[in-house]
């Protein structure tokens, strides 16, 4: 055993990459994942068509964020689509993938086989979390890319009017759109860590997904109740819409910093809780 130990303890970094690659394969080869991404990609199409069909109607500042500017600049469909999907669609998809990560393997009876490989539980958990984070990014990019495509087809593109009333070149706007997609993706890693933790608690994939999505809905409701304003700054979704601050001139960093800090906190707390649970539990399935 003493001979085997170093081998087990220090698998080459490439080996870890291999583990991540196989995890990514598990996630992205699933029909379920592809359907989720497909649904996310349709949201901008629906919003785009709805705005196009109602171009001559009243636009008195109602409706989703940024929607008044979509007809002038298709790039704003990216911001609108992200603002529309961020409260529920995107995190729900993350909840499904994260909740399924460990519990799904357990309920399918494949977790024990995964652990037979000399990867180690910590490493497996990290690979799982990394694959969920990659999904956060891919899901966000799918929404953004679909919105950009639809926006370019249905509406003119050009110089971008920031919400502060300042006009910047299209390239600057595109750069801000990319930064916003990045911020939105990072905004989701908090709920990803939470979902992963819930996933380590149970052997039922469905239960973990349902619980994660339930927590998301509860948190979103709490964030909307004015009487709970004291705890709201600690809810992972509280600063999600601060991505809009990237569209101001000059950019306001306070909300963004709070959002990213909160995500880091959730990742640290629930990531380590998932680790504590997963490395000490009995794997019976």
């Amino acid at each position: 055993m003493s001979l085997a130990e170093p081998l087990v303890r220090n698998p080459s970094p490439l080996w870890s990459l291999g583990l991540l690659r196989s995890e990514l394969g598990t996630v992205f080869r699933r029909w379920r994942t592809l359907v989720l991404l497909g649904v996310l990609a349709t949201v901008p199409v629906l919003v785009g068509i709805a705005v196009k069909a109602q171009t001559h109607g009243d636009q008195g500042g109602h409706g989703p964020a940024f929607i008044a500017e979509v007809t002038n600049n298709g790039l704003f469909l990216v911001f609108t689509a992200l603002a529309v999907t961020l409260p529920f669609f995107l995190p729900m998809a993350i909840g499904v993938i994260a909740g399924d990560a460990i519990a799904g393997e357990a309920s399918a009876g494949t977790l024990r086989y995964l652990l037979v490989a000399p990867a180690g539980r910590t490493r497996l958990l990290l690979a799982k979390y990394a694959s969920v984070m990659v999904f956060c990014l891919v899901a966000t990019l799918v929404v953004a890319a679909s919105a950009l495509l639809v926006g370019a087809v249905l509406f003119p593109l050009g110089d971008v009017t920031l919400i502060s009333g300042v006009t910047v070149p299209f390239s600057d706007g595109l750069l801000r759109a990319a930064a916003i997609a990045g911020v939105v993706a990072v905004s989701l890693i908090g709920i990803a860590a939470l979902g992963l933790f819930i996933s380590t608690l149970t052997d039922s994939g469905i239960a973990a997904m349902a619980t994660t999505v339930g927590v998301l809905i509860t948190v979103q409701i709490m964030d909307g109740v004015p009487q709970l304003h004291a705890v709201q700054p600690l809810l992972f979704s509280h600063y999600w819409l601060s991505f809009a601050d990237l569209l101001r001139a000059p950019v306001m960093w306070d909300g963004l910093a709070k959002d990213l800090g909160l995500q880091a906190l959730y990742t640290a707390v629930f990531g380590s809780a998932a680790w504590a649970r997963f490395t000490t539990r009995d794997i019976t399935a």
């Binding site: 002038n72 990867a119 180690g120 009017t161 707390v269 504590a276 794997i283």
Partner: protein
């Protein structure tokens, strides 16, 4: 499949760590506790850091500054030469207005009354970018503003919303307002005379910066006011003296006004108004970030965004004034200083309202928010807020002021005689 039972040293590396087989706990409880301690510790450290941060921010330390008298401090404010400023302002107002009133139906009734009365009626052709309508939003809740100013002729104020922003740029005789939520622009050009009119008009609006608030509040300083220096504070990173202003007149609903004044240049940094009823401040306007450097000239440029709907505003203040007090004849101020009561008489004994059709809804609202009072003037309805009380007599006269109900009834009685 045979259970895989890793040796102690390798327990991290997984496998089948069942209870069965070795007749005991494969994973010692103490280790479990240690591992679960990690997330708990992280959460604890985070909570402590956040708690400590807020505690530090609220006390902020009181810088030690040379003693100064109230007169010297008032003089410092009056002679402050700072013309350029940029920064963020947080405005919190809790006037205790009934929610329904905020929708503007009774705006006309409270318009012009009291030092912080709003102007009612949504004039200006109904554009959502009209500053009149937009600034009224500041009358309740917490708002973040970004301000920049370079002398009296060039200012920029933005109301920062969640995913939108409302910007007013004033540059010389041009005034532009842009509302990103509706992508609409409001434009107003003023000639010299009208510009002055516009300025006066602005004086009566809800103040958006500490400077404006202080200028309005200190209009009342006189023998009926006690002004003292109340220690020091740190506001937006600046060292500041705290000025404490208290009305001596007992009928006032204002308990005290606190003003933090920059020790270096005499600029008011924070304005807090506490009503007699206690509780949170009714008005709290303060810089959260401030910079006295000259803002870039481009800050005050404005070009109409592509596709934005532009509404041209009426170009002089008199016109607007007439609009605001539509249907009302004669604004009469009773009492002095803090006890000032505005008396408004409406034509034809009707309740005041911006548009004739709103009259009924106004009356309905009055019934639901106010309570009935009697006096030698007859009967009327009193609407209480934390700061301003309004008495509307059944004959249609309106008495409004930052004074208690008795003072209003007294004023109505003496007006009736």
């Amino acid at each position: 499949m045979a259970p895989i039972q890793p040796p102690q040293a390798e327990r991290d590396f997984g496998g089948y760590a069942g209870f069965e087989g070795d007749g005991g706990d494969a994973f010692p409880r103490s280790r479990k506790v240690v591992r679960y301690g990690v997330p708990v510790a992280i959460a604890g450290v985070a909570a402590a850091t956040i708690g400590l941060g807020t505690a530090l921010a609220s006390t902020g330390g009181s810088p030690s500054l040379p003693n100064i008298t109230a007169e010297q401090l008032l003089d410092k404010i009056a002679t402050s030469k700072v013309q350029t400023v940029s920064g963020s302002v947080q405005v919190t107002t809790d006037l205790g207005l009934p929610d329904g009133l905020l929708n503007g139906a009774v705006g006309g009734a409270t318009g012009g009354g009291g030092p912080f009365g709003q102007h009612g009626g949504k004039g200006g052709g109904g554009s959502t970018a009209d500053p009149q309508a937009k600034l009224t939003e500041l009358i309740s809740g917490t708002h973040t503003l970004r301000v920049a100013a370079d002398g009296p002729d060039r200012q920029r104020v933005s109301i920062v919303d969640n995913t939108a922003e409302y910007t007013v740029v004033h540059n010389g005789d041009q005034m532009w307002a842009y509302d990103s939520a509706s992508n609409s622009v409001y434009h107003q050009t003023a000639d010299k005379g009208a510009q002055r009119g516009h300025r006066t008009h602005r004086d009566e609006q809800l103040p958006a910066t500490p400077q404006e608030a202080v200028r309005q509040a200190l209009k009342n300083v006189g023998p009926t006011t006690s002004v003292t220096v109340d220690g020091t504070a740190r506001v937006a990173g600046q060292q500041a003296y705290k000025l404490l202003v208290k009305p001596k007149q007992a009928d006032s609903t204002i308990d005290s006004i606190r003003v933090a004044v920059d020790a270096a240049n005499g600029v008011p940094l924070r304005f807090t108004l506490t009503p007699k009823g206690g509780g949170a401040a009714a008005v709290d306007i303060g810089y959260t970030k401030v910079n006295f450097g000259k803002p870039a000239a481009s800050t005050f440029d404005f070009s109409v965004p592509r596709g934005a709907k532009v509404t041209e505003g009426k170009d002089n203040g008199e016109d607007r004034g007439a609009q605001d007090h539509g249907g009302l004849s004669g604004l009469n101020v009773i009492g002095k200083d803090w006890n000032s009561i505005a008396e408004l008489k409406s034509e034809g004994g009707q309740l005041p309202s911006g548009k004739g059709g709103q009259s009924e809804s106004v009356q309905g609202l009055l019934g639901s928010f106010g309570h009935r009072v009697k006096g030698s003037f007859g009967t009327g309805t009193v609407i209480n807020t934390r700061l301003v009380n309004v008495l509307i007599t059944d004959k249609g006269a309106v008495f409004a002021g930052a004074v208690n109900q008795n003072a209003l009834v007294k004023a109505a009685n003496s007006a009736a005689n």
